[in-house]
Amino acid sequence: MNLKPTIGMETHVELDTESKMFCSCKVVETDEPNISLCPTCLGLPGALPVPNKKAIEYIVMLSLGANCSITKEGMFHRKNYFYPDLPKNYQISQFDFPVGVEGSLEIVIEDSLHTVAIERVHMEEDTGKSIHLGSGRIDSATSTLLDFNRSGVPLVEVVTKPIISSAKMAVAYIEELRQLVIDLGISKGKLEKGNLRFDANISVAEEGSDELGVKVEIKNMNSLKSLEKAIDYEILRQTKMVQDKESIIQETRHWDENKQVTLSMRTKEGSADYRYFSDPDLPNMVINDEFIEISQNQIKETPEKKRKTLLDTGLSLSDSNYLDKGQRWLYELYLSTVKETGDCKSTFNFLTGELQGQMRKAEISELPQWLNSEKLASLINLFENNEVSFTSAKDILAKLLIEDIDPKSFASDNNLIQSSDNDEIKALVTSIINENQDIVERLENPEDKLVGYLVGQVMKSSKSKVNPGSVKEVLLKELFG
């Protein structure tokens, strides 16, 4: 029996607003507990929620960015469940009228484009944080500490249709969604800070079958690496169970990072168990055309648009995706540099390889002010035109990172310009041939690896000041005619 996995992702995005979703308490990023609280986010009786306009703008932007239709007449529901980090005993969320519906995100896996269908984008509020005290094991805690600073922070849930078919595809989807919220400027998108939290619904079914298998929800994956490992593990676990004729139960499992396994947490509530009902404190939410237009006008960039801009410079899909998901300054620097060099591949390679490598090594996180696209283009052109060797280009770059120099003048002043003067090269080649007669006698054909060795010897004797291409040409002519 051939089994195929089906995955649906639920992602919570913490919005980057000044105040909380339903009250004016400041959104704080601090270890000091319980300092930004009011009767509303503490769930005290009689307190009434008033939604944050910016958060609604942000969710409309995200819905539009994910190509969703906007529900113009929507509402909030109460999702009822009992847990101490939820002081009202219900979470204000959305049920059958989410802000965004029926969208899609374009994702890149290696060198191919795929589409992930988005089912819904809805608005809700975050819960507080619990710390379980005791022996260290969550199930033997002696008491629970609560910090409600996060309670009521605006949270958007983005739910895909169950159409993701592998762990790699799930990771590429999260990378795209993360970049979207960063490019839209609506969330910091830091996984390590919990700005983006994701659960995966996984099932396996017989290939070709229209019906999905029993769905298991996996929680507690806080990095892309753990997401990939947890999905791969869960697919294997379920596949083995089906093959062994064991039945899979609908449940929530958590990813145990230390043991590298998924473990059962609880039987999953069905939607009915949450007893959703419309929140009587919050009348209908009307999102009119004007509101949508205002939100639309705030969208300056999306990863999809950036990728298209990069592809237009001639870069491959995977290189475009790399820059799309990287730091903003590198994306901008590439675009302005490639305009001057006209060579996408060498510009991409030099910026992502040499420049980033040297910056990492020197622990520089920002480019010095003087190191602009003009200087980089001039340096890239120098070695692309064989005027300096790649080794010299690396040295010039190292200098540029600490001092404002002109690459071309620096190369001339320091005798780094390679000679293409054939007489000079011929003299060097002749001298190396004479010094290495034993090797010359062993040469069988122009493809012989020893040719490379002899080229290297010529380069060494010239102190890398001659063009290796010309050296090889002259050397082969001398040796093989």
Partner: protein, 94 residues
């Protein structure tokens, strides 16, 4: 007629403990409630416009501005137990 519910599931969801006597009484009460609700299923609403909220008022939004919150001391003052600035509750693991 909807009588297909389990009183144990419902008490579990509500996190309340029920004695056997109470379960029997609540089972009967809830059956009556469900019978009443079931009557709604007989109404033909095919051609009705959906009113998604009982209030005709439209939601007012507020600007994204923060205002001072309760002081930490005031926020914590009704709590029977605190530790290092946190509220303390019995261990609660789902």
């Amino acid at each position: 007629m909807t009588k297909d519910f389990n009183i144990d599931d419902i008490s579990n969801l509500a996190s309340i403990h029920l004695e056997e006597k109470e379960k029997l009484k609540l089972q009967k009460d809830l059956e009556i409630v469900l019978e009443h609700v079931d009557a709604l299923k007989n109404i033909d609403v095919k051609d009705e416009k959906i009113d998604i909220h009982p209030l005709s008022k439209v939601l007012e939004l507020r600007e994204d501005e923060s205002t001072p919150s309760l002081s930490h001391k005031d926020a914590m003052k009704n709590s029977p137990e605190t530790k290092d600035g946190h509220f303390v509750v019995p261990p609660s693991i789902e």
